[in-house]
């Protein structure tokens, strides 16, 4: 195995088996809720769970082929969704939206 191959295996593995789960671990547990041992374990577990689920879903539903660019985009997208979620929660955008929705439902009922 060449050095380049070794690099590809290492960084490819981190990209697939750690990063998406790491981002998603913040969706389920805020920074203060868990320590880094828990987060690291969850990151690997969530990545191994989410990546095949997403790759299979996109292939089955939208016929997205499993190629290097497509899969890279899918993994980036998966990580991106988590980041957007965290950002939205941080700016309490989601909770405000939920509040608005609740108010809207209440107003509907009162009518």
């Amino acid at each position: 195995m060449s050095v380049l191959e070794g690099f590809r295996i290492f960084f490819g593995s981190v990209f697939v088996l750690f990063i998406p789960g790491f981002a998603w671990s913040y969706v389920f547990f805020a920074k203060k809720n868990i320590d880094w041992i828990e987060r690291a374990a969850l990151s690997v577990g969530l990545s191994i769970a989410l990546v095949p689920l997403m790759v299979f879903w996109f292939n089955w539903l939208l016929d997205v082929k499993i190629t290097l660019p497509n899969t890279s985009l899918m993994v980036c997208g998966l990580t991106g969704v988590a980041l957007v979620w965290i950002w939205a929660r941080k700016h309490s955008w989601t909770s405000r939206s939920v509040e608005r929705a609740k108010l809207w439902f209440k107003s509907l009922r009162s009518r």
């Binding site: 191959e5 490819g12 697939v16 095949p52 689920l53 790759v55 499993i66």
Partner: protein, 535 residues
């Protein structure tokens, strides 16, 4: 006052007995004492003097522990080292299953950029859920790994990495000290090491997601639970079934609405994986139910799966077995009806009453035993003061050593089922025979021939190319008669080779091939014949 004194005396006797027990186990593992003595009985006797201690409430809680990280890292490195050491004896993978995995991973990789769902044979669908192979495809595309690299690097790493989920889940439920003990016991567990030497890749992933599902359930993170349960369903169905069985009593008792949402979410996520395979999944499910019913009605021990039985388990897990039972009693005494309690009850019932797949269920049973042993050790040995606490720590350390010795021995002795020469003979077939050739092999050799020969493999009761039943195979394997063999082999049209490795457990009567209808084309550790046809 007198009651207290009696209780203290019994508790002190427990410590002494526990010390004697663990020294005996240690001497047995070091092969100084006879292995024939019924040590299990001693383990059960040990429960009696533990009862007063179980009845007395002991203050527990250490909120955080110093030295957690170094101990966890040491456990992880130990688990990884023994696995890599066992693997280092030969370039041939350990266990029986690598050939099946390699074949299926190659099938998926060769079908890229698509998933070959429609083209898969029914046996592939029945034994291999898609999760692992979609992951291997993704790793192939992103990291450039082939099937062998994926298996050789990821499998030992994930097996060792389970130390962390063990710690995280046990800590979440029973405190940091129990978590740490569970992580260390997992690292030294012979049973979990045997999972590695048998190459049960999907099992390891199944255990990981089973632990995370329990974690998500207890932490009430239902979104996370939907994902981990879906992962269970696409990676390893027996553990999925186990978790489903755990959820039933848990939901009845706790009635949390979030569980329903998590289950619905998991069902949606799994749907595209399971729906195209509903017939294969249905066959597996009905087969499992039929086996369980037959086991209950007739007491037949059917469909146990390939792993050691519960009698052997009691011997290899002897060091922590009494403490696991103490841990279970601790949960009962505290009426702690959490998911680990139901996990313990359900997996014990499956294994002890031989319901279905009862040998393979020893693997998740060991996980819950390790967790409960950690609880038992924490409660009965470590929550003490002064001198008896020192004794408790000494007993725990001896216990870890005693549990680790069989694992180290097994790592030393681990050898693949075929030699490098025998695997080279299979690779010779890939390079020197016609692409449309069949290769006949015994069930011992079949996975290797399937994984490495790149040819259609005919083997007893395996794969889609076999057209004979069990009786016909038995007769073919035993006979030395040429005519019988010809009749059998003529059922296959096209070039045909016979592969046979020279291993003690591998039986095929080779006398029938000593005639002009067969040509010996390769011999080195294994023999390959070419069938020239009946003429």
């Amino acid at each position: 006052m007198r009651k207290l004194k009696v209780s203290k005396a019994i508790d002190f006797s427990f410590l002494q007995l526990a010390l004697v027990f663990i020294i005996l186990v240690l001497l047995k593992e070091l092969k100084i004492l006879s292995p024939l003595f019924k040590y299990e009985l001693f383990a059960y006797v040990l429960l009696l003097p533990a009862i007063p201690a179980l009845l007395a409430r002991r203050p527990s809680e250490v909120r955080s522990l110093r030295g957690t990280l170094p101990i966890l890292m040491a456990a992880f490195l130990f688990a990884l080292s023994v696995r890599l050491f066992a693997q280092s004896h030969s370039s041939v993978p350990l266990g029986y299953d690598p050939g099946f995995y390699k074949y299926t991973m190659d099938l998926y990789a060769n079908a890229l950029p698509q998933i070959p769902e429609a083209d898969l044979a029914s046996w592939v669908k029945e034994i291999n859920p898609q999760g692992l192979f979609v992951l291997s495809d993704t790793m192939h595309v992103m990291a450039g790994t082939n099937a062998l690299q994926f298996m050789n690097y990821l499998f030992p790493f994930l097996g060792a990495l389970l130390v962390f989920p063990m710690f995280v889940v046990t800590r979440a439920l029973f405190g940091p000290r129990a978590g740490l003990v569970a992580a260390v016991l997992y690292a030294v567990s012979y049973t979990q090491f045997d999972v590695f030497t048998m190459f049960y890749f999907k099992n390891v992933l199944g255990l990981m997601f089973l632990l995370f599902s329990i974690y998500a359930l207890e932490k009430r993170r239902y979104g996370l639970m939907a994902i981990t349960v879906a992962a269970l369903g696409i990676f390893h169905r027996p553990e999925f079934l186990l978790f489903a069985l755990i959820l039933i009593p848990y939901f009845i008792l706790h009635r949390r609405r979030g569980i329903i949402f998590a289950v619905l979410g998991a069902a949606v996520l799994i749907a595209p994986f399971w729906l195209p395979r509903w017939d294969a999944n249905w066959t597996v499910l009905t087969g499992t139910i039929e086996t369980a019913v037959s086991s209950i009605q007739n007491g037949e021990e059917l469909g146990g799966g390939t792993f050691f039985d519960f009698t052997t388990y009691r011997v290899v897990a002897l060091a922590y077995l009494p403490f696991a039972l103490i841990g279970a009693l601790f949960l009962l005494r505290n009426r702690n009806w959490n998911s680990v309690f139901f996990y313990f009850v359900i997996s014990s019932i499956i294994v002890v009453f031989h319901l279905f797949f009862f040998k393979r269920f020893i693997i998740p049973l060991d996980i819950v035993f390790v967790m409960l042993a950690a609880v038992g050790i924490d409660y009965i040995l470590l929550r003490r003061e002064q001198i008896s606490r020192v004794a408790g720590v000494v007993i725990m350390l001896l216990l870890i050593v005693a549990a680790g010795i069989p694992t180290l021995d097994a790592a030393q002795d681990a050898r693949p089922r075929v030699t490098e020469d025998q695997l080279q003979a299979v690779e010779w077939i890939a390079e020197n025979t016609e692409e449309d050739a069949y290769v006949l092999a015994t069930s011992y050799d079949a996975p290797w021939v399937l994984g490495w020969s790149e040819r259609r493999v005919i083997a007893p009761g395996l794969f889609e190319w076999n057209v004979h039943n069990r009786k016909e195979w038995r007769s073919f394997l035993r006979t030395g008669d040429l005519e019988g063999a010809r009749l059998f082999l003529d059922a296959y049209e096209g070039p045909l080779y016979i592969y046979h490795s020279e291993n003690r457990e591998n039986y095929l009567n080779l006398q029938k091939f000593q005639n002009p209808s067969f040509e010996e084309v390769y011999r080195n550790g294994a023999v390959v014949y070419r069938y020239l046809g009946g003429g």
